[in-house]
């Protein structure tokens, strides 16, 4: 018989992920059901068109009325509703100076969550950054009115004089942003004042006197509430930790494999990061020591373009040029599932409100809701037990079974008691026992 070794994917907990690809499609992947559910593509927004290739995406994880911003190759930025894919707002990033979108593509995009909370849900603020270093902060008063002329304010400044910006990131408090790229050292800006507050210094020449040119490909802040520490990945396969408060040179710097680092993502705990590179290797590092925690192995053969960490569940999603979306367990570093999405993927975002949303419209499916609430409870109860969750649920089942058995037994006993008391009505008692037994 043919021996086939099917990939054993244990399936993943309920989650919702959005992927963006080179044909400008947005695909929604949802994993439903309890542990072991296989996620599927449930929705596809947009028509395949190579000029609408997605370059960057950002999302506000608000409970009510979340927003999703997508920057495309033809210079438009679209604000979508991440629940159904309706375009709320479409603006063009092409300005009057005649810069063609091909020459000055958008490298970074961030949609602010803060303004939404402050002044109702009708306004939104966008930070975009092009490869030539033109950063723009746009505010929109009313995104629900049909015309896009309702631009509240738009402020533009230059973050670099030469070189190409390749990565930009806004910290958790949304007051600071960092930019870096080819020929551009990482620099941190205060977004309120729009001033540069810090610039990195390139590391010294090595022992052979060779200087590696500056080329940052990805960056992320180490934790949500600290803008001073961030991690950057370089084209010369180096991962560096910078600390603004300490020095201008990297605090920790180490090599990872032999192809350029393409994606860096932070964990919730504030010291673990996930690193993906150009040949499809994904690994997690502890940035306190700079030690490798472990590699994620799963026949991943194409460059990793984006990594996303689930804000609650221990799941990491990665996607890239091999056109697979892969979901990994954080603790065991096992592949939970891989979904083939046909195109080169550019970005992945995990929708954190998926479970709550499920509960909200749970009237039609109470079983799912129950499962999810159970999951949530578990999360709340014992976060240290997360990797053995499945085992736990098994145990629970066993316990349940035992409980049932005991119940039955007690029933029997009581029945027997009855029998001994009422010898005459033995038959009837037997019937009862039969009825009781499940």
């Amino acid at each position: 018989m043919p021996r086939t070794s099917a990939l054993e994917c244990p399936g993943c907990p309920p989650l919702r992920a959005l992927t963006f690809d080179v044909l400008g499609l947005v695909k929604v992947i949802e994993g439903r059901g309890k542990q072991g559910g296989v996620p599927k593509v449930v929705d596809r927004w947009g028509e395949p068109d190579s000029s609408k290739c997605v370059l960057a995406a950002s999302m506000v994880h608000a409970k009510y009325d979340p927003l999703l911003a997508v920057a495309r190759k033809n210079g438009t930025i679209e604000v979508l509703n991440p629940l159904n894919g309706d375009v709320r707002l479409s603006i063009s990033n092409v300005d009057d100076t005649g810069n063609r979108p091909e020459n000055d593509a958008i490298a970074g995009l961030h949609l602010f969550a803060r303004n939404k909370v402050d002044s109702g849900s009708r306004s939104c603020t966008l930070l975009t950054c092009t490869t030539n270093g033109k950063a723009t902060l746009r505010a929109f008063e009313d995104i629900f009115s049909a015309d896009s002329a309702s631009v509240g304010s738009s402020r533009t400044w230059n973050v670099c004089s030469s070189g190409n910006i390749l990565c930009s990131k806004v910290d958790g408090s949304e007051n600071y942003a960092l930019f870096g790229g080819k020929g551009v050292e990482v620099n941190v800006w205060d977004l309120n004042e729009r001033t540069k507050i810090w610039t990195a210094k390139s590391p010294p020449k090595n022992s052979l006197g060779i200087f590696t040119p500056t080329w940052f490909t990805s960056a992320t802040f180490l934790s949500k509430d600290d803008h001073r520490k961030f991690v950057a990945g370089t084209n010369s396969h180096e991962v560096r930790l910078y600390d603004i408060s300490a020095q201008r040179r990297p605090v920790i710097s180490f090599d990872f494999k032999e192809t350029p680092i393409r994606a860096v993502a932070e964990d919730l705990d504030g010291h673990t990061i996930y690193v993906g590179n150009g040949s499809g290797d994904l690994a997690s590092f502890d940035m306190r020591t700079g030690k490798l925690l472990g590699s994620f192995l799963g026949k991943c053969s194409g460059s990793i373009r984006s990594i996303a960490r689930h804000p609650e569940l221990p799941v990491v999603a990665s996607c890239g040029l091999d056109s697979y979306l892969r979901l990994w367990d954080v603790k065991t570093r096992q592949l939970l599932s891989a979904i083939f999405l046909k195109q080169h993927l550019v970005n992945v975002i995990i929708d954190s409100n998926f479970t709550s949303e499920e509960v909200a419209n749970s009237t039609r499916d109470p079983s799912v809701e129950a499962a999810q609430t159970a999951n949530e409870n578990e999360d709340g109860d014992d976060q240290h037990l997360q990797p053995v969750k499945r085992k736990k649920s098994l145990k629970e089942k066993k316990v349940n079974k035992k409980g049932r058995k005991e119940k039955n037994r007690s029933n029997e006993i009581s029945a027997e008691d009855c029998g001994s008391k009422k010898l005459k009505s033995k038959k009837r008692v037997k019937c009862e026992v039969l009825d009781d037994s499940p």
């Binding site: 021996r3 499609l25 192809t259 460059s303």
Partner: protein, 356 residues
């Protein structure tokens, strides 16, 4: 006992008798020789037993085939459907289930095709122009192979490598409107790798090259003409294979000259891509039957009747095998390049998993 049985079965006659007899014999044999030949220590005896077993197996196999043929023949005579031909189970047709296999109803696949780097050539907007160069050192079979590649691929130009960096060559070729670069890598005076770079912006495929047979080493080879060849691409099934296939396709002009009757084949089997180059000819020939008949009744049926068209194939060479090592996004860049696909040892956990 045994003899009696035999006599009884003799009376039945026909095939069944024989089979039952041999069955009885083999059963008896089995009873006797539960011991395998490998367990016998005496070599003479062992080889004897082994030969006997082998002979028996051969007979059985022949009989099976005979029975099968007879069944087919009988079905043919009775006008029934002949029994279904058995399909051997091979590694290819038991390959692992792969969700990346291209489906003809996939809308996104065609949209992707229209958007990819090769579409302008394959839509005949641009005619391909190929630059062929070598690794730094090149001798013996390398130049011979290149001269043959030049005859295979129309509009290909050989440039000496010199001491230029490949990235510089890519720049140069971009300026001169080349559509692809082929680099023949030679190691120990033997071509061993092929790098195909699609211009202006990738991808780059890196192949291992093996089993190279040059034209002069092929028996009764033909010499190709300079017509545009026809192209056959076989079995490029998955998305990756599809992409590699399109890449190879974009090396050749998309208008074959059928007068030249020249075929270039890239046949993918178990992730190995076999290259062959042939000439064909159609010969209309009177069949033998017609010859024998024509002697007797010459003008009865005329010349029109018994003409049979036979296709002849002649190999022109070279002949070689390619195996994909990596497919890189963008043009050649070993240090800072991103890969669409790299072969990793952890992928080789099954013999039945193929990527092309």
């Amino acid at each position: 006992m045994m003899g009696a049985k035999r006599k009884k079965s003799d009376s039945d006659g026909g095939e069944e008798e024989e089979s039952s007899a041999t069955n009885g014999y083999s059963k008896e044999k089995k009873m006797k020789t539960e011991i395998l030949p490998s367990m016998i220590k005496n070599k003479d005896k062992r080889s004897e037993v082994h030969a006997k077993l082998k002979h028996q197996k051969k007979l059985e196999k022949r009989k099976k085939a005979k029975a099968r043929d007879a069944a087919a023949k009988r079905a043919l005579e009775l006008g029934e459907e002949p029994p279904a031909k058995m399909i051997p189970r091979t590694i290819e047709n038991t390959r692992e289930l792969d969700e990346t296999v291209c489906m003809p109803d996939d809308e996104e696949l065609f949209a992707g095709n229209d958007a990819d780097e090769f579409s302008s050539i394959l839509k005949r907007e641009i005619t391909p122009k190929i630059l062929i160069t070598t690794s730094r050192f090149n001798s013996t079979r390398g130049p011979a192979f290149i001269s043959e590649l030049l005859t295979v691929i129309p509009n290909a130009h050989y440039y000496k490598r010199g001491t230029y960096d490949l990235k510089k060559i890519v720049e140069y070729a971009n300026k001169k409107d080349f559509t692809s670069i082929i680099v023949v890598h030679t190691n120990r005076r033997e071509p061993d790798a092929l790098v195909i770079i699609n211009l202006p912006d990738g991808p780059t495929a890196h192949f291992k090259l093996s089993n190279l047979v040059l034209r002069k080493d092929i028996k009764s080879h033909g010499n190709p003409t300079s017509h545009e060849p026809e192209l056959i691409l076989n079995n490029f099934m998955t998305r990756l294979g599809h992409r590699v296939g399109r890449m190879i396709q974009s090396l050749f002009p998309q208008e074959p000259n059928f007068r030249g009757r020249r075929v270039v084949t890239f046949h993918n089997q178990r992730d190995f891509i076999f290259f062959r180059h042939h000439r064909y000819i159609f010969e209309s020939k009177e069949t033998k039957q017609a010859d024998s008949k024509s002697k007797k009744m010459k003008d009865a049926k005329g010349e029109v009747a018994k003409e049979k068209v036979i296709a002849h194939l002649q190999e022109c060479g070279p002949r070689f095998t390619l195996k994909l090592i990596s497919l890189q996004y963008g043009t050649f860049d070993t240090k800072g390049g991103e890969y669409e696909w790299v072969h990793k040892p952890e992928m080789d956990t099954s013999r039945r998993r193929f990527f092309l």
